[in-house]
């Protein structure tokens, strides 16, 4: 981090300080948690909102994207809950342990906390007061001083704690649904999940927004023990006026398996940070994502895969389709630490530009300190293949439809890797809806 010494604060920074000062006393947690929150907020204050002069935020100038700080949301009223119920309809067919938050507040009537033996799903606010809070607010994987992570630790009031006992395969997926309803507010959420040795779970996190101009910030901390497997599907479908910051921090033990997919369909500006740390030998990770954006929306995927163990493999593949004046950012880094021999890492980022004004920036990095490795990355930026488009049109398919077919095929490649059929349908439908709205 470039810790610039700055005396002038932006309006958003000043507002955040005021909100923190007034909310602090009311935030759940014991004294250790309070201390943790204060440290986190101090870290934010010291750095401020990062501008493009901070290398990690070069293409996503948070200071410019976040002009003000929204107030923390109050408890949702009946109308909001009814709206949330409607918003959750696409997920109704997916049988899952469901924990629903509306405006950051747990809503029991939209939730189903029943779990199978060996799986526990509880609320974060209880953990914050029973001594497990500090641990739940410190992931230990994301880079120190990351502003999105620090703000979440300072403000988060509730979330979900998931625990899968060793050797247990969770029979139902666990779905954490975050719904925003209202005009404008800030909401923070956090999922703290641990999969015990040999355990197996599918986590779903969805973000659904109405028309409001919200600021959402979510963190998922995922600890996958030796021999365990975790699959995570995230669907970000915030309102088109929302600023969405999200962080996924995963620690993988030995012979563990991670599979993640992130869909970025909404938000005015969204940054998805993914930090995966291999700490045990012989593990694998598949990290994928798809995104689409029109208008002047901004989608950022920032990814660091840290190989600090022997014989691990990682595959990263992200695809984004851009229309209007939209802009995508991909910053991906594979790090191979000294001694992390037999690492096999491959990363691919692809952006499809559908309109004259669309923009794509990519920075795929390799940082390698061990020799017995096979690592590679690729990046492509380009428009739809004219010849193929012509071929489709010559068969009588109108331009927009032909484009839609090709975009579908483009993002389809990563969407198809979602194993849960119902979820794959939800994601596919969302992609189709975006394509239909284009035409």
């Amino acid at each position: 981090m470039n810790a610039e010494v700055r005396s002038i604060r932006t309006a958003a920074e000043t507002a955040l300080s005021e909100i923190f000062a007034s909310a602090f006393a009311g935030l759940p947690g014991d004294s250790a948690v309070a201390e943790r929150r204060r440290t986190a907020f101090d870290a934010f204050k010291a750095a401020g909102l990062p501008s493009r002069r901070v290398e990690d935020w070069k293409y996503t100038d948070l200071r410019a994207l976040m002009r003000d700080a929204k107030p923390i949301a109050g408890a949702p009223d009946g109308v909001m809950i009814a709206a949330a119920r409607g918003a959750l309809a696409p997920y109704a067919a997916i049988d899952a342990t469901r924990v629903t938050f509306v405006n950051g507040r747990f809503v029991e009537e939209l939730s189903d906390l029943a779990t199978a033996e060996g799986v526990s799903v509880t609320l974060l606010k209880d953990a914050l007061v029973n001594g497990a809070g500090v641990e739940a607010l410190s992931d230990g994987v994301s880079p120190a001083g990351n502003v999105a992570v620090a703000l979440n630790a300072a403000f988060v009031a509730d979330g979900v704690v998931v625990s899968v006992a060793p050797g247990v395969t969770a029979s139902r997926p666990i779905h954490v649904a975050n719904v925003q309803a209202g005009s404008e507010h800030a909401a923070y959420g956090r999922v703290v999940a641990r999969v015990g040795e040999g355990g197996n779970v599918l986590l779903i996190e969805s973000h659904i927004g109405d028309a409001g101009a919200h600021q959402t910030n979510s963190v998922i901390m995922l600890d996958v023990a030796d021999g365990a497997r975790a699959e995570l599907v995230k669907i970000q479908d915030e309102s088109l006026d929302t600023l969405h910051l999200a962080t996924l921090a995963v620690r993988l033990g030995a012979k563990a398996e991670l599979k993640t997919f992130a869909l970025a369909a909404g938000a005015r500006a969204a940054r998805q940070q993914i930090y995966v740390s291999f700490t045990g030998d012989g593990s694998t990770a598949e990290i994928r994502g798809a995104g689409f954006a029109g208008a002047s929306r901004h989608l950022d995927t920032t990814l660091v895969v840290d190989h600090d163990a022997v014989g691990c493999s990682s595959r990263e593949h992200f695809k984004t389709a851009l229309d209007g004046e939209a802009r995508s950012v991909f910053q991906g880094k594979i790090v191979v630490k000294p001694g992390a021999q037999k690492t096999d890492g491959k990363m691919m980022a692809q952006a499809l530009l559908l309109s004259e004004g669309a923009e794509a920036d990519a920075k795929p990095e390799l940082e390698i300190f061990a020799d017995d490795v096979v690592c590679g990355h690729g990046a492509t930026v380009g428009a739809l293949d004219d010849e193929l488009l012509f071929y489709l049109k010559s068969r009588g398919i109108p331009q927009k439809e032909a484009e839609a077919l090709m975009v579908q095929a483009f993002v389809g490649e990563v969407i198809e890797t979602i194993e849960h059929e119902g979820l794959r349908e939800v994601v596919t439908d969302r992609a189709l809806a975006w394509l239909t709205a284009r035409t």
Binding site: E55, P338, G339, Q341, A351, L353, L354, S355, E356, G357, A358, E359, A360, D361, A362, K363, P364, E365, L366, E367, I368, F369, A370, D371, D372, V373, V374, C375, G376, H377, G378, A379, T380, V381, G382, A383
Partner: protein, 489 residues
Amino acid sequence: MPAVQETVARVREIDVDQYKYGFVTDIESDRAEKGLSEDTVRFISAKKGEPEWMLEWRLDAYRRWRTMVEPNWARVDYPPIAYDELYYYSAPKSTPGPKTLDEVDPELLRTYEKLGIPLREQEILAGVEQRRVAVDAVFDSVSVATTFKKELAQAGVIFCPISEAIREHPELVKKYLGSVVPTSDNFFATLNSAVFSDGSFVYVPKGVRCPMELSTYFRINEQNTGQFERTLIIADEGSFVSYLEGCTAPMRDENQLHAAVVELVAHDDAEIKYSTVQNWYPGDAEGKGGIYNFVTKRGDCRGKNSKISWTQVETGSAITWKYPSCILRGDGSRGEFYSIAISNGRQQVDSGTKMIHLGKNTTSKIISKGISAGRSQNTYRGLVSAHRKATNARNFTNCDSLLIGDECGAHTVPYLEAKTSTAVFEHEATTSKISDDQKFYCLQRGLSEEEAVALIVNGFVKDVLQQLPMEFAVEAQKLISISLEGSVG
């Protein structure tokens, strides 16, 4: 296979004090006072007999430099450079401008002989089929001899020390100097603008295909001396020039600073091919001594359908900080960057290129081969950007890294920025080590391990080697061997 052994020397033995070009030439020299001040700048300018406008240009750069901070974004690590402890000007004493080679200090000529530089024209002819190379040799900061001047002049090509160009061709220098790398560009380029003492100047007039390769050899000899050469090459409409640059320096315990600036301008339909074999002293195995090579090289494809191609073979220097770039301004212009960067011992390389697409239908290609060994760090850093109006910009990038040993690092930091939907960028990068099986196969055929490594490395870098002009292969002697392949069939 002497060529192979030579490459082995590059890959494996750079760090064992066997730097073969590390002799010191014993020549009295004429140095400026230690340190940098306006007086130093005035001293250099006066020594070169420069006109007032040039002095003002330098002073302006100097004043600006005093306000600048050294960049720190590259992945290189070195103690602070004491800019006020350096000498900024050193000339071999016997030369206020030798007129012919016969007037050049014989000791100097012997130095160049030791370097394998065919300064004498007849030597050039030996071994190279009918093609000749004009050489400008820069010793510490001063150009000591330029060959083939007369013949080039007949073709209308100007090839001379830049100090001479400032005196003889002020209109060209005024028009182009600083037009690609402005005096305010970056810390090292600005420093160069203030204190550069010599370098080469090339002007190829309209429609002229330069009749021979042009070449400059740079050598740093003096202790505690910075070398700041400045090269300016202008290819006028429809012309072509191929320019070669070679560098060596003696072994010194102290680090020596080299901050050069190279500016290329290609007008409509012109082409410039610029090749470098950089073999500055890399320091010893423990990282003591060696050249700090902070170089700004930039080409401006100013005219339509112009082309600039950079080829570099970087094997020397303790630190290499260098990003030969192309500004693709003219519609239909093309930029190329071919690079081999080999690091060993404690060397640190942070090098790459920038391809800035501004004009319509511009294309660029980047092929980078990095080889890290010992405890070195080797970083490729590159930018490809297409601006809004750069419709149909095309880039292909291939960056491969090879690791030899488990104490080194290989890093790839590419930036891709597409601001137009008509741009097509393709980037691929790989990092791997030499496969044990390949190596064993070579050993089983009787090659020593070093020969095996060298052979495989040669194969790895082949795509870039092929870009070097034939003459360079000869001049850089055993570094490259393509003779056998050429003789088949």
